[in-house]
Structures are given as C-alpha cells and as structure tokens.
C-alpha cells in the first residue's frame, strides 16, 4: 500500500537525525556518556566508552536503514526501545527532552509500517 508523503518526510528526517547523532557520539563518546545517570552506568557490563560506541553504531544503522526505506517497522521498533532506554538512563533534561518527540515519531513509523497481522494482535487488546 502506498504510504502518505508525511510518512516519508518523517522517515527521512528521523534517518538523518539518528545517523547524525551516531556520528556525533563516535566523535565524543565520553561527552555523550556523561548523560548516562551514575546508577545506570554502574549496571553496564562494559566500560561506558565502549557502550557509547555501540550506541553510535546502533544509531548509524537505524539512520541508514530508515533513509533507504528498509525493514522500517523493525527498525522503528528498535528505535522506540532504544529511545525508551535512553530516556530511562539519562533522565529528562533540556537536551534529552527532545527524545520524547523522537520517541513519538518512532512509534508512528512503527505503527504505519507494521504488518496488518501484527496490528490485528494489538487491536485484539481493545475488545
């Protein structure tokens, strides 16, 4: 089914955002690691810098896949879980508050691209 232009505008905008943030984290992993709350950093099985580089790779992969319109609902689901985790471990401040908007956009992309069979399972909970 053909998707509306708004969907594609949102997909490309999200792709650019994720890819660019991935590059910025690659540039300064320690700086971006500073947003992680101490309690969350203590739970990490690897050093914070390595965890942030892993985050950068994930962000780049999400961004590129969104740009080329591949596996969008799966990528958007991963992005949703990732952003949920980011908000949880970093808290809400003047920078991370924007992740709420990104989270909403990721949920929208997931829902718009998810297969009908999966949507039907969600709808079953409504009755």
């Amino acid at each position: 089914m053909t998707k509306p232009s708004a969907y594609h505008i949102m997909r490309v905008a999200m792709g650019i955002t994720f890819a660019w943030i991935g590059i910025l984290i690659f540039k300064e992993p320690e700086f971006w690691g500073g947003f992680v709350q101490p309690w969350a950093a203590g739970l990490l099985p690897v050093p914070l810098k390595e965890a942030m580089i892993g985050t950068a790779v994930l962000d780049l992969a999400i961004g590129l896949l969104l740009l080329v319109d591949a596996f969008v609902w799966i990528v958007a689901l991963v992005a949703t879980l990732h952003l949920g985790l980011v908000i949880t471990v970093s808290g809400i401040d003047s920078v991370t508050v924007r992740d709420i908007g990104l989270l909403g956009a990721a949920i929208m992309l997931f829902w718009e691209d998810a297969p009908e069979s999966l949507k039907a399972k969600f709808r079953r909970f409504q009755h």
Binding site: S5, H8, R11, V12, G15, I16, A19, W20, I23, L24, F26, K27, G63, L64, L67, V68, D69
Partner: protein, 132 residues
C-alpha cells in the same frame, strides 16, 4: 560544524531519494511525480545511464561517499585534508553532471523530472556550502 551538518543532511536526502528511484526501477514501477509530470519521460529516456550504470546508482554511490567523507571529517579521522579535497572534487563532478542533466531535460527531452531537479538542487546546496 554547521557546514558539515548541511553537507551530511544533503547527502542523506540524496541517499533516500536515489534509494527510492532504484527501488521503483527494480519493481518496474513509475516513480511518483509530485510536481509536473515528466518523471517517466526523463527517467526512462536514453540519458538515464552513464558508463553503463544507471544514474540513480551513480547518484547513490556519490551521496554515500559524501556522507562517509563528511562523517570521517567530523569524527576527526586522519587525513582530514584528503577527505575535504575528496568532497570538493566529488561535488564539483556532481555539479557538472547535474548541470548537464538539467540542460538535457530542458533542451532535449523538454520534460522536467522532480527527482532529478531535487538532486540537482541538493548538489547545488552542497557546492554553495563548500564555497562559503
């Protein structure tokens, strides 16, 4: 940093656009033509390939390369001077090709392709960003 953000954003636009054109061509479908109606005329003309490669594939390769050199420059991977020179030469080449394809649409095919003009505009913004 602003210049790199613009270059990367333009490259990302290009990646999304050329991916769409490749996907549409592989599926034997006509590309959506949001403005004007000459997309099929242009995209299916004899000018849609160069050196045996479809223009959409050449475009995707260019935009991916631009995204890569911009990323390497921002991250600070040496040799940064070489990445900057590579970006300048790639954009110069793309600008010449875009001008030629725009001329072909205008004078020979007498049809405008929204996606081709958007790509030409993207390359033009990249060139202006590099010059400034």
């Amino acid at each position: 940093m602003t210049a790199y953000v613009i270059l990367f954003t333009m490259a990302a636009f290009g990646i999304a656009e050329t991916s769409y054109l490749i996907r549409t061509r592989k599926a034997n479908k006509h590309a959506t033509c949001p403005i004007g109606g000459g997309c099929a005329t242009v995209l299916e003309s004899k000018y849609n390939a160069l050196f045996g490669f479809h223009n959409d594939i050449l475009g995707l390769a260019f935009y991916l390369a631009m995204a890569l050199v911009t990323a390497l420059t921002v991250i600070g991977v040496e040799p940064i001077g070489a990445w900057t020179r590579a970006a300048t030469w790639m954009v110069a080449g793309a600008l010449v090709m875009s001008a030629a394809f725009t001329l072909i649409q205008w004078r020979i095919l007498k049809a405008w392709c929204f996606w081709c003009l958007m790509s030409a505009g993207t390359v033009l913004v990249m060139a202006v960003t590099l010059v400034l």
